[in-house]
Assembly symmetry: C2
Homo-oligomer: 275 residues x 2
């Protein structure tokens, strides 16, 4: 199945644009699980069981697994396998933010696909060489960082750049380049919920066929209504609204999974009101 079809199927089947970010920071795990890589997998397993009917995607961020070294890498692998076994329709977005020259990007792509991910996040600073190895397989996808949700994202991304087509912002130029880079239809963009007007401009530019991954609602403070209305395509689809800490760490108690499930359902309902 082509990547874009997999994503649309997931969004339609669970009637959900919600992505749960599995930023399962060891230091923040509830006391009910151990603060080890084994506890990290146990935590993820319970979060996945509680939320899998209300999401279109899970997004484990590699940093929080690499932090635990070898055992963390194993916990990440187990987590992805668990998602694919118990929620086979849900998309696995590996938040890798990789970017390297051609032969090296090829090795990163092999690493990400070997972990079982359906798609990854990538950094555009090295241009198409660094993305191509991830785009060759149409069953796999990539989301390129365009306008990120962090405060200093503007330092480079909001710069005015001069292009053959006239002046624009760097992030808008990345969105334009992505239209030429992503000929196979499996390239999406990352635009933070904290900047809804930028998100609106990017959606208007890329049209209806390009998925946009939107982190930054919840803990990072982006407005949900604006993010949804600005991010979806004409059919109310292909926006992926990510929430991490506000779902997985909502409740520090022993029933953390129950609360995570409720939060995911509430987010799904709130999003669907604005689609």
């Amino acid at each position: 199945m082509k990547f874009i079809e997999r994503l649309l199927t997931a969004q339609r089947k669970n009637d959900s644009l919600v992505c749960v970010g599995l930023d399962s920071d060891l230091a923040k795990l509830p006391k009910a699980v151990s603060a080890t890589a084994e506890g990290q997998f146990e935590f993820n397993r319970r979060i996945i069981d509680a939320t899998k009917g209300d999401v279109c995607a899970y997004k484990p961020n590699m940093a929080f697994y690499e932090e635990a070294g070898l055992k963390g890498w194993a916990a990440l692998e187990k987590t992805i396998n668990y998602i694919k076994d118990t929620a086979p329709d849900v998309v696995v977005i590996l938040d890798a933010k990789r970017g390297d020259i051609g032969n090296t990007a090829q090795a990163y792509a092999k690493a990400c696909w070997a972990l079982g991910a359906h798609c990854v996040t990538l950094n555009p600073y090295l241009g198409i060489d660094s993305l191509e190895p991830f785009l060759k397989d149409e069953t796999k996808g990539a989301f390129v960082l365009c306008r990120t949700s962090n405060a200093s994202g503007r330092e480079l991304q909001d710069l005015d750049v001069i292009t053959p087509l006239g002046p624009t912002k760097l992030y808008m130029h990345v969105a334009k380049l992505a239209m030429t880079w992503g000929k196979a239809g499996n390239l999406g963009l990352v635009v933070g919920a904290t900047m809804p007007s930028e998100l609106k401009d990017v959606r208007a530019l890329v049209g209806n066929e390009v998925p946009i991954l939107i982190p930054g609602v919840g803990a990072q403070g982006g407005s949900l209504e604006m993010a949804v209305r600005s991010g979806v395509n004409g059919q109310g689809l292909l926006a992926i609204i990510n929430s991490s800490r506000e779902i997985i760490f909502k409740d520090p108690g022993p029933e953390f999974d129950k609360k995570a499930g409720e939060s995911a359902r509430e987010l799904r309902t709130a999003i669907n009101r604005f689609r």
Copy 2:
């Protein structure tokens, strides 16, 4: 020891600006070692033994270890430990090219330092938030991608940008930002040897105190003389000239390490002629 002092000590002690890139791609390992993560470590060990007196740094690229999954991660860890045990004056540059928002960058920094690296490579697209966690410890360093050696590096990096100080190229703006980002003196830049005039401009801008990591001589075709003359500071130091495939894969035969040692020595001598 502050990072910059560690680097200067390494360059002076071995009278060398050579960095050997341990891009130990499983598919390219000589037949004398097995094409497994164990073989990868064995290969690295022999390369390190043969070159350690002629280099200032080793630069393992994480992609080629992540590609082998869990066992690759273990091979990377063993390789870094081996360098630190047998060549304690030599700097370990972990070629990670990471870049993520604050709390996530913090987790990546912990992962990189837990592996034992003295410094890492980072991507500037997310701004200072994504670099700060790596710069807090003055004994550790970071090299930010400025102008990369790959063909499509120009797509973003060569764009004309409008800044409060007037128009410039994006990579030059990154170099300017780095001067404000790197207040602790432990921030360097990455500029490819394939673009010597850009390298010259960056060195002129950042002055004598900022280290520049220069990949792209050898397999990527950059001129050595131009790279050295353009990259060193006023004392003929703080340029780090990286060669990977042209050293480690110079000879596919059973004595690959002997040939790697000769190549590293030749590169050291050639560089020193131009300093």
